[in-house]
């Protein structure tokens, strides 16, 4: 024991506090993980052997790309699988993935993809166009409960098939012309279609593996477990220890394996931000998922280059369950929305350059600026609440805010709880749940008000608006407006010009903000601590890293 701590201390010139932290960490948090057990830290060893230690925030709900909906899942799935397209990590424009090249018909409705002939699954199986047809068929099975099914709706007849209006999948606009040619027919020219193909909900899954562990449309089968999962991405799943770590290692069958520089990535589900930050300081992580609110200032004051703050195409908001009796009245919802002082929250609670949000879509999403739907107006809010039958908050039932366990979410909730208490005189309780439980509660409508965040899957206002269609998998508020659906699903895609399309979105967003099933709070900023040895890290508004391109450089040389 003495020896190894000595070893630790010799290698880096750590200050006393860092050293004692390391001792605590070595014994406590990371017992059993490769911590100070060897004289090197994770980061040093990783730099030498090409292993990236990645803070992933939380344990993923599922690694099935047709079931997952969260950002933590996304980070891991991106390493294991890939779609027809990739995004350029700087410009976010489409670059070839499984598809080597593609052509678009003159009317913009028919895409023909030429797949690469050296694409393989991670077990060495042939990977071809039929995999995509089968996978997309699977993703549209209603029994699978794919919350992202609406991502397929631009494809001809996909919506009709999903709803059960037609039962013949061959009518859906996806065909394998031959083994390496995939043709996709759309309802309308869709400017963001190529971006969609890089989203995990449209990734292919390995038919043989899925069927080996259950029916294609069965949820939660064992096919995603370590040892079972077969993917087509640059890495393959090596081990999955619940609440400990997920390890992915180089997939030698990957078509671009020669260009992949990392040998392994280890994802750590560290829900506690304080712990994560300490792990980073102790050299256990290359990259943290977040930075604790109060540490941002410390790093900023020290001008520490490890701190990376970047604008993020995402909205932090509260969902309101419109099926709750006292939240059915839109005046009540508006009153709640009007008494959140967003300026104070971004300046004094979240404190990392977030922008107050007064609409669902972040400003300047592909040139779109949302209409301003509400303002901070306690006086008007009290009036609305009185009109709804609760003068001065009297008789208003105790309302619960649900959030997933995280210090940052708790702080925002505590501030809002008090704002509502102060301005509306209503009693608000907080309830926190672990990520998976929280996602279930939200999907099942088992909540009153819940914390939510929506991060862009692609850069287009459509991504922030089409989730609120009736019964949309990511709607989860129970809100439903036929006219809104018509605008977003039917009218906007047919718009002739970009401006006309944006005008329709403005109209739709106006309707959404008028009914207010969601209370936008702020536009996200990503906060990461990144070790200087991590190279080729890109800063884009989707916060998407391409693991194929990342590499590590020994910090000592």
């Amino acid at each position: 024991m003495t020896f190894h701590f000595k070893g630790c201390n010799d290698q880096h010139q750590t200050s006393l506090s860092n050293f004692s932290l390391k001792v605590i960490l070595a014994f406590g948090v990371l017992l059993g993980l490769a911590g100070c057990g060897s004289p090197e830290t994770n980061v040093e060893e990783g730099n030498r052997t090409g292993v990236l230690h990645w803070g992933n925030g939380t344990e993923p709900q599922s690694l099935d790309p047709h079931i997952a909906t969260g950002v933590p899942e996304h980070h891991i799935i991106m390493a294991l699988m890939e779609g027809l397209m990739h995004k350029d990590s700087d410009t976010l424009g489409p670059t070839p993935g499984v598809a080597e090249s593609w052509t678009v018909s003159d009317d913009g409705r028919v895409y023909t993809f030429k797949l690469r002939d050296n694409a393989r699954w991670s077990n060495g199986d042939e990977h071809n166009a039929h995999d995509f047809v089968w996978s997309w068929w699977r993703a549209l099975q209603p029994a699978l409960g794919n919350l992202y099914a609406y991502m397929y709706f631009p494809i001809l007849n996909a919506r009709e098939y999903y709803r059960g209006d037609i039962t013949d999948f061959s009518k859906v606009g996806v065909k394998a012309l031959d083994d390496l040619t995939l043709q996709v027919t759309l309802n309308n020219p869709t400017p963001y279609f190529l971006q969609l193909l890089d989203h995990y909900s449209m990734y292919p899954v390995h038919k043989g593996t899925v069927e080996k562990f259950g029916a294609p449309d069965e949820r939660g089968t064992r096919w995603t477990y370590a040892g079972n999962l077969v993917g087509n991405g640059p890495f393959k799943l090596a081990t999955w220890e619940i609440n400990r770590a997920i390890e992915v290692e180089r997939n030698t069958f990957y078509w671009g394996n020669d260009d992949v520089k990392l040998n392994k990535i280890i994802f750590y589900p560290t829900e506690n931000l304080t712990t994560e930050e300490r792990m980073f300081r102790a050299g256990q992580l290359h990259y943290t998922n977040e930075v604790p609110i109060d540490k941002v200032e410390t790093y900023r004051a020290a001008n520490d280059p490890a701190l990376k703050l970047t604008p993020y195409l995402g909205t932090y908001y509260y969902r309101i369950n419109v099926n709750e009796p006292h939240l059915q009245d839109k005046r009540v919802r508006r009153a709640l929305g009007m008494t959140i002082d967003r300026q104070q929250i971004t300046e004094h609670v979240t404190k990392a350059g977030q922008l107050p949000a007064y609409a669902m879509t972040p400003p300047n999403t592909r040139g779109y600026y949302p209409p301003v739907g509400l303002s901070f107006d306690p006086e008007g809010a009290r009036q609305l609440l009185a009109e709804a039958g609760y003068p001065n908050g009297e008789g208003f039932p105790t309302t619960e805010i649900l959030y997933n366990t995280n210090e940052g979410h708790r702080k925002v909730a505590v501030a809002i709880q008090q704002m509502w208490r102060e301005h509306l005189n209503i009693d608000v309780k907080l309830l926190n749940q672990e990520w998976k439980v929280y996602l279930d509660s939200e999907s099942n409508g088992d909540y009153q008000i819940s914390r939510a965040g929506w991060i862009g899957d692609y850069v287009d206002p459509n991504n922030f608006l089409d989730m609120f269609i009736c019964n949309g998998g990511n709607n989860r508020t129970g809100w439903c407006n036929e006219e809104y659906d018509r605008l977003v699903l039917d009218v906007a895609p047919r718009a002739k010009t970009h401006d006309a399309r944006m005008a329709i979105f403005t109209q739709a967003e106006q309707m959404l903000m008028d009914d207010m099933p969601v209370l936008p709070i702020y536009t996200y900023t990503t906060k990461h601590l990144v070790h200087p040895s991590v190279k080729n890290l890109s800063e884009n508004i989707l916060d998407q890293q391409s693991y194929r391109e990342l590499y590590l450089e020994g910090s000592q040389d």
Binding site: L273, T274, P292, I293, D294, K295, E297, T298, D341, Q344, I345, H348, V349, T405, E407, R410, K411, A413, V414, A415, Q417, Q418, R421, E422, K429, L430, L431, N432, Q433, E434
Partner: protein
């Protein structure tokens, strides 16, 4: 309470409790502990009337400030007065400490005394039950209770008490087994006293020493357990707080705002010291074997 004639070893005509009080008064540390505890309890009882601010009153513009004339113990990141929050937190912490420990004490002492005294197969069966409950992760047990009965503060206290009695039962059982063979118990038997009276008058008072020491150790551990459960969303929820939670939050920002950790830490440590001194004093005072000097 206990008639003089049964107090075999005493010839002065004072009861065990009177003896104990006389001895305790001579122990200065124990008296300091006692007065401190009484002081804390009174403060907690009076908190709603004497707290300088509301525990939920925020001032986001002010944010976290170090101790000042307006806020003696500073404010937290929401600009809430720390003194007020520590006072309110003390109510929860002391309550969970006393209620949960009392529950654990009641179950543990009775269970252990019966098992130890009856012995044989009954003892074996009762202790196997304790072993099984030991093997059960207590968290699962508490979470199950909270899920079935809903989130209720009082229930939480009982639930914690209901999992903390196991060690107590074992300690008491061990003591009782060794006491049961002693001469004075045999003598009580031969005088024809009923089993229950023997347990109550002779056995339990003789086990008080270790029980009290263990009790003073249980109180802080249940206070911290409460903080842990609250952190998981099963205990008390913001804006309410307890010492354990305040410390938990304080740790997050201990480098930036140390006073958020130091003051609740002092409050908890003071209570623990007071309990330990008092416990020590009580053990000496209540041990019947030291009563003749």
């Amino acid at each position: 309470m206990i008639p003089n004639d049964t107090h075999i070893q005493s010839d002065k005509g004072t009861s065990l409790w009177e003896d104990a009080w006389i001895k305790l008064r001579k122990n200065r540390l124990a008296l300091i502990g006692l007065s401190l505890l009484i002081f804390l309890c009174i403060m907690s009882l009076l908190t709603p009337w004497i707290a300088p601010y509301g525990y939920e009153e925020q001032d986001l513009l002010m944010g976290a400030t170090p101790p000042s004339a307006q806020h003696w113990l500073g404010t937290d990141i929401f600009g809430r007065d720390m003194l007020t929050r520590i006072m309110w937190g003390g109510r929860v912490s002391l309550m969970v400490g006393f209620i949960a420990t009392a529950v654990a004490l009641a179950i543990g002492v009775i269970y252990g005394a019966v098992a130890g005294y009856v012995g044989g197969r009954v003892d074996a069966a009762m202790m196997r039950l304790v072993d099984i409950l030991y093997a059960l992760p207590f968290m699962i047990f508490i979470i199950l209770l909270m899920v079935v009965f809903g989130r209720n503060l009082l229930l939480l206290f009982f639930a914690i008490g209901a999992v903390e009695w196991l060690t107590m039962a074992r300690i008491v059982r061990g003591q009782v087994m060794s006491l049961r063979k002693q001469e004075f118990v045999e003598a009580a038997h031969s005088l024809g006293l009923s089993q229950w009276i023997i347990i109550r008058r002779h056995i339990i008072p003789n086990t008080l020493g270790p029980v009290i020491v263990y009790t003073t150790l249980t109180i802080p551990s249940v206070m911290l357990l409460e903080a842990f459960l609250s952190f998981l969303g099963l205990g008390i929820q913001p804006p309410q707080s307890s010492w354990g939670l305040l410390i938990n939050y304080g740790v997050e920002t201990m480098e930036e705002y140390p006073w958020l950790l130091i003051f609740p830490g002092i409050a908890l440590s003071l209570t623990l010291f007071a309990l330990n001194f008092l416990g020590d004093g009580l053990r000496d005072a209540l041990d019947p074997r030291t009563s003749k000097d």
